[in-house]
């Protein structure tokens, strides 16, 4: 398949689908709370509405960073889609692309952080600190995953890992990856950086209009990226089965995660960091097993 066409289709799919599935998640959370909830296109309405709103610039902000940070975050996640296929199995693979994807995700966290600090608001500062604590731990956990994958597949190229061979280590890795994916998607209990009752939306507090829209959109895109990565690891190479499997997976996984998220309480940042430290034991375990070829 022509990789360029596949990439274009994949990116457009991601852009259209990410807010839509967030709408579905809201409906699911509402049903689980015995409510009707907003229509599934509500998230799209919200993003479009934000684009039409006026941007308010805080007086103490460092304007250049404040304005460019949302774009940096959005673009870094969007660029990752060049290497991670969604609905069509084609991407711009090259040696080391998995590391690039990890770095791009890290960069989006850094962009959040920079935007928050440049706003000059103390709440954003607190939120940014939390974001960085989480990001650092996420990177460590992702490092174990990347390391194990590299050992298992003797390669740092993503298409060699799509799908993974069925081994003990790969199953443990996938389970581990799901947990890390949940944490990186900023879902309760890990939505600590943007905790609304505690720090009034944290890094986003001074953002409005299209910048706020970009930030929210970035989070939705990130979630679909991580989900797609997981699906690529498990779906077969046969194009027809893969597409069917992908569509089912990219709907079911967010729905299940939403149902789980609805029944969790938020953690405190020190508790979350401690949790992730304990989680890294599994990462080390998976890596060691993969060294033995299991």
């Amino acid at each position: 398949m022509n990789a360029i066409i596949a990439v274009i289709v994949n990116v457009i799919f991601a852009l259209l689908y990410a807010p839509l599935i967030d709408g579905v998640e809201r409906k699911i959370k509402a049903r689980v709370q015995r409510r009707k909830g907003p229509p599934i296109q509500q998230t799209w309405y919200d993003i479009l509405k934000l684009f039409k709103k006026e941007e308010i610039m805080p007086k103490d902000a460092t304007k250049s960073i404040f304005v460019s940070a949302p774009f940096m975050a959005f673009l870094s996640v969007l660029i990752s889609y060049l290497f991670v296929p969604t609905i069509l199995p084609g991407a711009l693979y090259f040696y080391g692309d998995i590391i690039v994807v990890v770095y791009l995700l890290a960069f989006s966290s850094i962009a959040f952080f920079l935007g928050a600090f440049s706003s000059g608001n103390p709440y954003a500062q607190v939120g940014a600190n939390r974001e960085m604590s989480l990001a650092v731990m996420e990177e460590i956990l992702l490092a174990f995953i990347v390391g194990s994958l590299a050992v298992l597949n003797r390669s740092l190229m993503l298409n060699k890992m799509f799908p993974l061979e069925i081994k003990v280590s790969s199953i443990i890795l996938l389970a581990f990856y799901l947990v890390v994916m949940y944490i990186a998607s900023a879902r309760v209990p890990f939505d600590i950086a943007e905790a609304e009752p505690e720090i009034a939306e944290g890094p986003f507090i001074e953002y409005s209009g299209k910048y706020l829209a970009m930030y929210k959109y970035t989070i939705f895109l990130k979630r679909i990226l991580l989900t797609s990565l997981f699906l690529n690891f498990v779906l077969p190479e046969n194009v027809l089965w893969r597409t069917i499997g992908y569509i089912i997976g990219v709907v079911i996984i967010p729905v299940v995660l939403a149902m789980i998220e609805a029944h969790m309480g938020r953690m405190r940042i020190d508790q979350a960091v401690r949790f992730m430290k304990r989680l890294s034991v599994i990462g080390i375990f998976a890596w060691v097993i993969s060294l033995f070829g299991w």
Binding site: R31, V32, Q33, R34, R35, M259, A262, H263, M264
Partner: protein, 174 residues
């Protein structure tokens, strides 16, 4: 683990219907004694203004026009607190709190209800006194007093009482 409670909650929610009411697309059930908008039945109202006297926020007011000879009772919903004291104090059950609660309007006039009652005239000097219907009510239901007292204005009543007392005192004296 700590999942059992969550799982139970999830299954419980999924096995019960949504609780979202369909209002305003469907009417919402209102209990019998709901305290909604107060309304005066102009046929029953006797104009005693007891409601105006007990209304805590002074949403019910009255004004007597002694030139034209009528009393105007006004209920202003903008001040009403829907307490129902007016309903409790009305001797004839003319003002009642209905079950209506959708009181939003684009025109402030919709928030006023006005009842106009004719004032009776004093049979001696012709001045306007209190609403005619109020006098009629007191004649039928009130304590047994001289009917004529009800048909006099306060000043005339005072003068006649003085005269009566004077004559009575004179007779006793004689």
């Amino acid at each position: 683990m700590s999942s059992m409670g969550r799982l139970r909650m999830l299954i419980d929610s999924l096995s019960h219907p949504r609780v979202t009411e369909k209002y305003p697309y469907e009417p919402i059930p209102i209990p019998e004694d709901f305290r909604g908008k107060p309304e005066i039945d102009p046929e029953k109202c006797i104009g005693c203004a007891a409601c105006a006297r007990v209304c805590p926020p002074n949403a019910i007011t009255f004004r007597d026009d002694h030139e034209q000879g009528y009393r105007v009772l006004q209920v202003f919903l903008g001040r009403c607190i829907f307490c129902g004291r007016c309903q409790d104090s009305c001797p004839v059950g003319a003002i009642k709190l209905t079950k209506e609660f959708e009181l939003v309007s684009l025109s402030k006039d919709d928030l006023y209800q006005v009842v106009k009652l004719e004032l009776a005239k004093c049979i001696r000097c012709g001045k306007y006194t209190v609403p005619y219907r109020y006098i009629k009510y007191l004649m039928e239901k009130g304590p047994k007093i001289l009917k004529y007292e009800l048909l006099l204005c306060p000043e005339c009543k005072g003068e006649i009482m003085t005269l009566i007392k004077y004559h009575y005192a004179q007779e006793v004296h004689e």
